[in-house]
């Protein structure tokens, strides 16, 4: 097992830059999520780690060794493809044994290892079956078996659950996480599903347009997004954004939305021009006495909670409230925000302003 360190990694395809100056570190034994929207360069980053793509510049260290220019076969990593890439002309057992045979392991020993892996994954009964007739979940398990049988330094997985239906995904996700916890193997897992990333990951790196936007533990990223993009991408419904013009100074602990002054964590930097106040739906309270006003336009019942949508002078706000709270569409009400949880963004650059609250998270983002 090993630490993986990525430094200033860049990949150009002709004149198109798929990944630009990415840096992050996957600690030994971590379950690490590479999260971002489609086309943001997740797969490209992962393929560079695997050696299937050569970086244009930057370095990749696996277990302290620089491997950027090494061929895939010498990196001692395993890769799980989205479409599993099981060899269709071999049965399940031979598929799993294939990486061992390449190392010249004697057949008898390979058979023993395959049996052991099959037991871990609960597919002992399938070893003689052709891969063609397997269900999605079993294919997934065989692909995992092929990955873990060699005990590689790290597992790289590119949307390994993407081909499964929603119901089964959740089950496989749990299985995968349990397997990881048992083996303690460094795992890099690519997904565009923020829920999956939040649920499964020890750490998340969020990418957009080939750039690493933020990197940290799920809770920190959720609470203290480094950029407006991250704030919008993570959470469902996502963070509310209230755009306003104005200026804030270092040390200030409130912003002016029209006539209403909203308390925010004490800012450690100033900015002027287009600014955005970010507030998560669960941090909005409906309070008739509050000076910041809005009109309820819809409610959406979700069991124990409801999502209340309000129109304000600064944009639409969605609030997550207990279902028991009586809310009537068309009513005008005040909105009160939980001051300790708010973020202020510079709308021009998209970056969050450093405050007392997010200082520590942003320092290593």
């Amino acid at each position: 097992m090993a630490q993986i360190r990525i430094e200033n990694l860049r990949k150009d395809f002709g004149s198109f830059t798929a990944v630009r100056s990415s840096s992050f570190t996957v600690e030994d034994g971590e379950f690490f999520m590479l999260l971002g929207p489609s086309g943001c360069g997740k797969t490209t980053t992962l393929r560079m780690m695997a050696g299937l793509e050569l970086p244009t510049s930057g370095s990749i260290h696996i277990g302290g060794e620089e491997v950027g220019m090494k061929p895939a076969s010498q990196r001692d990593i395993a890769f799980v493809f989205q479409m599993f890439a099981l060899y269709p002309h071999m049965n399940v057992g031979r598929n799993i044994a294939y990486p061992l045979i390449s190392q010249g392991m004697p057949r008898a020993e390979a058979r023993k290892k395959v049996a052991e892996v099959a037991r871990i994954l609960g597919i002992e009964g399938l070893l003689d079956r052709p891969v063609g007739g397997l269900s999605g979940g079993d294919r997934q398990r065989v692909a995992l078996g092929r990955a873990i049988v060699r005990r590689p330094k790290a597992f790289l997985m590119d949307e390994p659950l993407g081909a499964l239906d929603a119901e089964f995904r959740e089950h496989m996700a749990e299985e995968l996480r349990a397997l990881h916890d048992r083996m303690g193997a460094t795992t890099v897992y690519v997904t565009h599903d923020q829920l999956e990333a939040m649920q499964m990951g020890d750490k998340i790196v969020v990418m957009n347009h080939g750039v690493v936007e933020q990197f940290g533990v799920p809770q920190q990223i959720y609470d203290w997004p480094a950029t407006r993009f991250v704030a919008a991408f993570i959470g469902s419904p996502p963070m509310n954004f209230l755009d306003f013009e104005g200026a804030v100074h270092e040390g200030q602990d409130r912003v002016e939305l029209g006539t209403a002054a909203i308390a925010v964590p004490r800012l450690l930097e100033g900015a002027r021009g287009a600014l955005t106040l970010g507030v998560r739906p669960e941090h909005v309270r409906l309070d008739d006495a509050a000076p910041f006003r809005g009109e309820v336009i819809a409610t959406e019942y979700l069991g124990t909670t409801q999502i209340v949508t309000l129109d304000t002078a600064f944009g639409r706000v969605r609030a997550r409230r207990p279902s028991a709270e009586p809310v009537r569409p068309g009513a005008r009400t005040g909105l009160d925000f939980d001051a300790r949880t708010l973020s202020v963004f510079n709308a021009t650059t998209g970056r969050a302003l450093v405050s007392d609250a997010n200082r520590e998270v942003l320092a290593h983002g």
Partner: protein, 312 residues
């Protein structure tokens, strides 16, 4: 991929069956006639009206494989009785066997040149198709078009330059020359067909093999080749059929050592009257190898002919 097709009605089935049967009759009738002629006597072969029922005879086959001469009547009468069944057939025509004919040799030439060029074409074609499919080849599209364009004129249009070139470098009337020529003609089609098949094989399989510790070549051999088998088989059939049946170049470029069966068969007519049964026998035997080859690979051919369209 799955298609939803409504089940054909009984009437439609019946009509479709009838059409297929009709087509089969139209294509198979000449073939049946040739095979039948091979077993007729020369008189039956040219009888008018044509005979459908006749007394089968092996005269055509015996004549195909032998050369015969007439000898003086006195010597003929003095001969000991024929020792073998084929000697007897020749004696019945009032002749004796002078020696074997050259049909066997010509047939063997066809086998060597046909299968040799097909094999070479598959090796080169698969390698080229793989490179075009997987690697960043400069000017890829132009090169692929260039390869295709070599097939745009009928190959025989360049027969004279090829004849001169072959004569200059000593390839005239050699097996190697014919193998190279048929390979060159077939290669464009092979590269195009095979590239299509290899494009269909997800590149992830090879990448998985690379990560599993195999070299690029091992990945090609153990992962790509088995999956391209269907494509290779069906392409091989196309190549073999062309090389096997090719007539014009064979007439022009071969005469003695490397002559193939197609230019030889018509020459049978000339030796000793119009010997149609012998010609038919030569054609019948000539059909066999391609038929066997195609039947052996037909499973692949059926799948391959759809050019990879059906992939789950």
């Amino acid at each position: 991929m799955s298609f939803s097709v409504t089940a054909p009605s009984p009437a439609a089935r019946w009509i479709a069956g009838l059409l297929v049967a009709l087509y089969a009759i139209v294509t198979l009738l000449p073939l049946a006639w040739i095979i039948a002629t091979g077993f007729k006597s020369p008189a039956d072969a040219i009888a008018y009206p044509p005979k459908v029922l006749f007394e089968p005879s092996l005269e055509g086959y015996v004549n195909l494989f032998t050369t015969r001469t007439r000898i003086a009547e006195a010597d003929f009468a003095a001969l000991p009785p024929p020792g073998t069944w084929y000697e007897e057939i020749v004696r019945d025509q009032g002749m004796v066997i002078a020696g074997p004919s050259r049909y066997g040799e010509r047939f063997l030439n066809s086998v060597i040149i046909g299968f040799g060029s097909t094999a070479l074409c598959m090796v080169l074609g698969t390698a080229a198709a793989y490179a075009f499919s997987r690697f960043r080849v400069p000017l890829k599209d132009d090169l692929m078009f260039f390869i295709l364009s070599t097939r745009m004129m009928p190959p025989i249009a360049v027969a004279i330059p090829i004849f001169l070139m072959f004569r200059q470098i000593g390839l005239n009337d050699t097996h190697l020359g014919m193998i190279l020529l048929y390979t060159a003609v077939n290669l464009s089609l092979s590269v195009w067909l095979l590239k299509g098949f290899i494009d269909e094989i997800p590149v992830e399989y090879e990448e998985a093999a690379l990560i599993d510790g195999y070299t690029r070549f091992q990945a090609f051999r153990k992962v790509v080749l088995p999956q391209a088998a269907t494509g290779i088989a069906s392409t091989a059939i196309f190549c073999l059929i062309f090389a096997w049946n090719e007539y014009a170049f064979a007439v022009l470029l071969t005469s003695g050592t490397a002559q193939t069966a197609p230019p030889f068969i018509p020459t049978i007519i000339g030796t000793g009257g119009k010997d149609w049964p012998a010609v038919a026998a030569g054609a019948t035997i000539f059909l066999v190898p391609v038929m066997v080859f195609t039947i052996l690979l037909r499973k692949h051919l059926l799948r391959g002919i759809t050019f990879g369209a059906v992939r789950k």
